[in-house]
Each structure stands twice: as structure tokens, then as C-alpha cells.
Symmetry: C2
Subunit: 219 residues, 2 copies
């Protein structure tokens, strides 16, 4: 096996699973049960299993489905980390994905979990994570932000039906800054990704119109 390691690198996937709640943007961490980095917090990760996985992204989905039992969220590739020292077991490759989960599915997720998991603020000062996962988390965050800066709507982080105010809060949580309501909504007028519904969110004040993502929308 040691010989094999010199010919073939360890191949795995890491996933930064994001969600937005009232406290802002969160990312899921898991407590590693085994070495290396046993009992350290880390991004959910796993090794590629060629007989099970049809692609690296499929491996990422399998890892998520295994570590956290939940409907599969939106997954996108960020980049690939590699080198002889990032994993003490030897030359390794890890392709990083980010995944987006709507807030209303968080509870089901955490409840069914067997290992220790934790939602932590994704924007707060750095954590102490296993491997190069701190760097990976920053890379995933950059990728997420650059898409939102590029005027793509992070609808995968919202429930099926949502108000424009909810959408704005999610964007603000990702970008880490306040957005102007008027300008934000003006931009949304020209978006083909939003579908206007004839339903309204009722509360102790004026009802807000509900929207949903366009059929086939992908972040």
C-alpha cells in the first residue's frame, strides 16, 4: 500500500455546505472520528469510490448524503487542492465543492446526524480546521460571493416560496454588507430567474408577495 501511494495519489472530495439563518451565513463542520486529525473539526469529506461514484461531484453528493441525511442540495465545484503534504498519509488530491441548503431544511438535517456536527458562522474569523480546510473554506466563500456579486441570485439558499425581503437578507448575509432595497428590487425586475406568484406572506403588517425560482434555475 505504501508503494501504491507513491504511484497513485489519494483522491477525495471536500464539501462546504452553506446555509443562511437569522445569524447570517453558516457552514457545516463535522468532528472527525478517525485519524488523521481525529477529533478535529473539518469540512465534510470522503475518498472517491470509483465503483460507487460516477464523477467527483457524485462523490461529493454521496459524502453529503452519508454524513448528513437530507435531500440533496445544490452542489458546484470550486477548485482542486493537491500536493504531497496537505494530507499526512501522502500525496493527495481533494476537489472542493460548495453546497447550498435552504434554511427550512436544516432541522431535519441536524437531527438525523450520528456524528458530531456544528453550524458555524462562515464569515467570522478563522477556525482551526483539519488539513487545509481553512483555506478551502475561504476559497468556497470567495466562489460563492463572486457569483452573487455577479448578479446571480442564490435562490438555492431559500425555501421554494420566498419574499423579496428574504432574498435580500440572504444576499446581504453572503456578501457581508447591506444592500439598498430600492436598487435591489429594481435589478430584480429584469431577472428572468424569478417567477411572480399570486400568493402573499401574511404577518402582523403589510403582506409581502411571494416568488419562486424559475423552472430549471441553477445557481
Amino acid at each position: 500500500m505504501v508503494v501504491v501511494r507513491e504511484l497513485f495519489p489519494l483522491v477525495g472530495v471536500d464539501v462546504a455546505l452553506f446555509c443562511v439563518d437569522d445569524d447570517g451565513l453558516k457552514v457545516l463542520l463535522v468532528k472527525r472520528a478517525e485519524d488523521p486529525y481525529a477529533r478535529h473539526w473539518a469540512l465534510p469529506s470522503g475518498v472517491l469510490k470509483p465503483h460507487l461514484d460516477d464523477s467527483l461531484m457524485a462523490a461529493a453528493r454521496r459524502v453529503l448524503a452519508h454524513k448528513v441525511s437530507v435531500e440533496l442540495p445544490h452542489v458546484a465545484e470550486v477548485s482542486t487542492f493537491s500536493g504531497p503534504t496537505r494530507d499526512p498519509r501522502g500525496w493527495s488530491i481533494a476537489t472542493l465543492f460548495y453546497a447550498l441548503l435552504p434554511k427550512d431544511k436544516i432541522n431535519a438535517l441536524v437531527r438525523n446526524k450520528v456524528e458530531a456536527v456544528q453550524w458555524v458562522s462562515a464569515t467570522s474569523t478563522r477556525h482551526r480546521l483539519a488539513f487545509d480546510h481553512e483555506e478551502q473554506l475561504q476559497a468556497a466563500l470567495r466562489a460563492l460571493r463572486s457569483r452573487v456579486e455577479g448578479d446571480v441570485l442564490p435562490l438555492h439558499l431559500l425555501p421554494e416560496k420566498f419574499t423579496l425581503t428574504q432574498l435580500q437578507k440572504v444576499c446581504e448575509a453572503i456578501l457581508g454588507r447591506a444592500l439598498d432595497k430600492s436598487a435591489f428590487r429594481r435589478r430584480l425586475k429584469g431577472s428572468t430567474d424569478l417567477v411572480e406568484l399570486d400568493e402573499y406572506e401574511r404577518g402582523p403588517q403589510r403582506p409581502a408577495q411571494l416568488f419562486k425560482a424559475r423552472e430549471g434555475f441553477t445557481f
Copy 2:
């Protein structure tokens, strides 16, 4: 070895090496000498050699240095392609990089080449390439364009000293559309990546001021 393939995927790198000449944006293709896809045109590629490479990007540089003897150009990751069928030898991973080469280094490159190589228009209608390299080429082109659209200057495609008109031509070749000179230069005024020189490119008309990239500039 067959058994190994079921446990460990084939790991390699592919490189889309771009340059810009008077005919527009070009990409380097090599004629494959060995199976699979012998005698097919393909992007320069190679398998990862853990004992030689310190990262996937280093592997990409090694592949370039090996296939085309030239000073190492700028290299950046695009994305990673994977799956059981993209290579007939079995489950495989290929991390795609693009590389940028200034026009004035092309000649030295082609001359020293042993295998058959070819510069083809990167923007013309699709080619018939080995593996999934057509898709990869499109992905590399998208990545390149999105950076230039994002107002990053592709200075790695220019000689050390260049005129603003040359810079504009390079941007136009990448984007595939004409840019307005006035607006283009107005934007450049605010760029910290350009350094004004006290030299001028002389010709049969008004001389043009020369510029160079900021120290430490990276595309």
C-alpha cells in the same frame, strides 16, 4: 493493474495554452502519438507523477515544459473533469488549466517541438479532439473570457512592453468583439496594474507610449 484501476482513478492534467496573434486567439493542440486516441489532436496532457510533481499545477507546468520547450507561462486552474468513461482506460480525473503565452515567444516554442503541434483558432467552430477536450477547451475559453469581462487585464498574453492599442487588440481577440477605444482607455486610467513607461513605440505614424505590467501582477 486492472485491479488497481478499480480502486484508484487515473489522475492527470490537461492544459489549454493560449496566445494571441494577428489572426486572433489561438490554442495549442498536439497530435497524440500513443493510444488511446493515437493520431488524434488533443490538448497537451499528462499523468500526475507524485514523485516529480509538487501539485497538480506543477504537473501542468511539467507537461508544458516537456511537450513544448519554452519559458513557463502563466498557469491557472479552470476545473476538474472526472468519470468512468471519459478515458477508455477507466475511471479518470483530469484537472484542466489554462496557460497564457505572449505572442513574441511563439516562434521559439514551435521550433523546438519534436511531436506535431498546431496553433488553431480558439474561437472558431468546434474541433474534433480526443477525450472530452472539446468540452474542456470551451470551459477554458469561458474561464478566460469571464476574467477579461471582469475587467482583469490579460497582460500575460503581451510582451513585456506593449502599447495600449496592443492591449486592446488582445482583449478584443479574447472577447470576440470590438471595444470602444475611448471607453477602454478611460477604464485603464484607474488601473493599478499598468505602469507607464517613458518609452515610445515608433513607426510610420505617431509613436505610441509603452506600458508594462505592475510588479507582481497576476492574471
